[in-house]
């Protein structure tokens, strides 16, 4: 079946502009996660959704970052007034549920470059 998809695959934006990143999880996966990965480094947790609710937003770096999920499906991560330090690959993952440990299935990521 279809895996996790993300769009766009690449995004170049000017400093100060807003960007929206999209994630389509695997159908039926109730949990959805957003991570940030700086060049050559590990993954930094941003936010997690259970259904359409986000019980854990602890990883969002600042109030410029927000995310929503609708229909227990698609999620968007919005970064307002982008800064150069926001440049990274943004990865989305989904999993079957919450009890865990469940395998997280990752999308290919969106590479964001802020100029």
């Amino acid at each position: 079946g279809a895996g996790v998809s993300q769009s766009p695959s690449n995004k170049v934006t000017e400093k100060g502009k807003d960007v929206e990143l999209r994630c389509d999880p695997i159908s039926g996966h109730t949990a959805l996660y957003w991570y940030r990965q700086r060049l050559g480094q590990g993954l930094e947790f941003l936010i997690y959704f259970q259904g359409n609710s986000a019980p854990d937003k602890s990883g969002l770096p600042s109030d410029r970052f927000s995310a929503e999920r609708t229909g227990e499906s698609v999620s968007t991560l919005t970064i307002q007034r982008t800064q150069q330090e926001d440049s990274a690959v943004y990865l989305c993952a989904s999993s079957l549920g919450v009890a865990g440990p469940y395998e997280q299935y990752f999308g290919p990521g969106t590479r964001l470059t802020v100029t």
């Binding site: 947790f45 019980p55 854990d56 919450v98 865990g100 290919p108 990521g109």
Partner: protein, 113 residues
């Protein structure tokens, strides 16, 4: 912040050699996962271990969870070029009813044919 330090950060070895990658923390985790990531793709799960002292083998890969559930190792026997990639460990802890993962710093492995 629960840090997971991986060592070495970079490793380049000849095909056929053996290697071990380490994942260490001062925190206790309820589970430990290892992922491999190739360029331009998301990480893919290799294994999950949940019991202190647990050892799992996946063909040429052997994974061990430390007795105290604070550390783990990945051993590869007779490395092949297809093993090249970024290896990430991830420790799981229950937060808000969810098994939240904290990812390690990563080990970039290159196998030279």
């Amino acid at each position: 912040t629960q840090l997971l330090e991986q060592s070495p950060q970079f490793l380049s070895i000849q095909e056929g050699e053996n290697l071990t990658v380490y994942c260490n923390s001062s925190s206790v985790f309820s589970s430990l996962q290892w992922y491999r990531q190739e360029p331009g793709e998301g990480p893919v799960l290799l294994v999950t271990v949940v019991t202190g002292g647990e050892v799992k083998k996946l063909k040429r890969l052997t994974f061990q969870f430390g007795d105290a559930r604070k550390d783990s190792s990945l051993h590869i026997t007779a490395a092949q070029p297809g093993d090249t990639g970024l290896y990430l460990c991830a420790g799981g802890r229950r937060v808000f009813g969810n098994e939240k993962l904290t990812f390690g710093t990563g080990t970039r492995l290159t196998i030279i044919p």
